[in-house]
Amino acid sequence: MINKTVANVSEACEGIADGMTFMLGGFGLSGIPENAIAELVKRGVKNVTCISNNAGVDDFGLGLLLQKRQIKKMISSYVGENAEFERQMLSGELEVELIPQGTLAQRCQAAQSGIPGFYTPAGYGTEVAEGKEAREFNGKMHILEHAFKADFAFVKAWKGDTAGNLIFKGTARNFNPNMCGAATITVAEVEELVPAGTLDPNHIHIPGIFVQRIFQGERYEKRIEQRTVRKK
């Protein structure tokens, strides 16, 4: 088996540079690549464009990169949980492209699949459609959207093996599988890294061909954004 393992997050981030475009998996704080984000903060990489459904919260997730003003542009679908984000956006310090969530997922999927563009009804007749080609299919209007182009995709999985095969857990799966193989280099961090051959091939969500580098994250805080419970 081709070995995709790297020793640690530092090695996994080899080659990142100012001005690059990064994809980051996760929905809210669930399934975010915590170790890669910490490394990006540590390295102080600047003027980056981040493609991520959300922007973290003020003091966790991508919020950590925002605090340090490392992000030039965010491409997201929902950013309601981050006051610092809203402040930087409304003051014009941060460039923001808000796009429909399904379009975001499909633009990742398209990049992974080698499909340069696709038509979707989402956003037709709204400001999202401005400047985009519109076309009718079966009596309904659609707009043309393009595959993303990114330098690195940082994804987080539950388990992975040395061949780069990945298994996700619960709703922490979200955008992570769609971003695998959607950038020049895909870096997967996992909670548990096992030797190739250990995982049942029937249970693999993402085959290792879509992953260039894999490592076991040192620690995961897995912060809960909205703790909602019921009484026993």
């Binding site: 679908s77 956003g123 400001e127």
Partner: protein, 218 residues
């Protein structure tokens, strides 16, 4: 008396039919799950990647890897499934979801909806709302009839940036149940004790009132 948020959810729950796959938005729509009849089979889809969403977990059983679209901790019912975001929106765009219930800041009488941005003031983003309203056959809006300033949210034309065009079919507010017919709001039911006059006054858009309007029955 105008309806509480729970009562709006309770009324909308009557629209949920046996065998439906339902997507619930954040806010009042989330409450709908609490009022669905328990003698029918319904599955709730949350666009972050679960079909068969269950109630909140018991204290101490919260799982950070198991949340809904509102980032709240949830549970998965027996028979539930998890999937990635692209597949989630294949369910939505592909019209496999039967009913979409979401909130709004404004609804226009032609079915336009605005719920993601107030220029210069508030920009949270559209999340999955644009995909949902562009594709769903059956969309119900749950919202208060007027905003905090007392202005009508049911308008001739939306003033805020749109989320989708000509898509809303039904609206349940704290005052009444409305349907969009021929580019007008058609009054179907009114909250107990609320008069047609009160509803007219709180509705900026054109309101059709035909015959006697019954009170909402839960």
């Amino acid at each position: 008396m105008s309806l509480s948020k729970e009562q709006i959810a309770q009324r909308i729950a009557k629209e949920v039919k046996d065998g439906y796959y339902v997507n619930l938005g954040i806010g009042i729509p989330t409450l709908v799950a609490n009022f669905v009849r328990n003698d029918i089979e319904v599955e709730f889809q949350s666009e972050n990647g679960i079909l068969g969403m269950g109630p909140f977990p018991f204290e101490g059983e919260e799982d950070p890897d198991l949340i809904n679209a509102g980032k709240q901790t949830i549970t998965a019912l027996p028979g539930a499934s998890f999937f990635d975001s692209a597949m989630s929106f294949s369910m939505i765009r592909g019209q496999h979801v039967d009913l979409t219930i979401l909130g709004a800041m404004e609804v226009a009488q032609n079915g336009d909806i605005a719920n993601w941005k107030i220029p210069g003031k508030m920009v949270k983003g559209m999340g999955g709302a644009m995909d949902l309203v562009a594709s769903a056959e059956n969309i119900i809006v749950a919202m208060m009839h007027t905003n905090r300033a007392g202005d009508s949210k049911l308008l001739k034309a939306c003033s805020l940036p749109l989320t989708g065009v000509n898509c809303v079919k039904k609206i349940v507010t704290d005052l009444c149940v409305l349907e969009i017919v021929d580019n007008q709001f058609k009054l179907l039911e009114r909250a107990p004790g609320v008069t047609v006059e009160q509803i007219k006054e709180a509705t900026e858009g054109d309101l059709i009132v035909e015959g006697t309007i019954p009170e909402i029955v839960f």
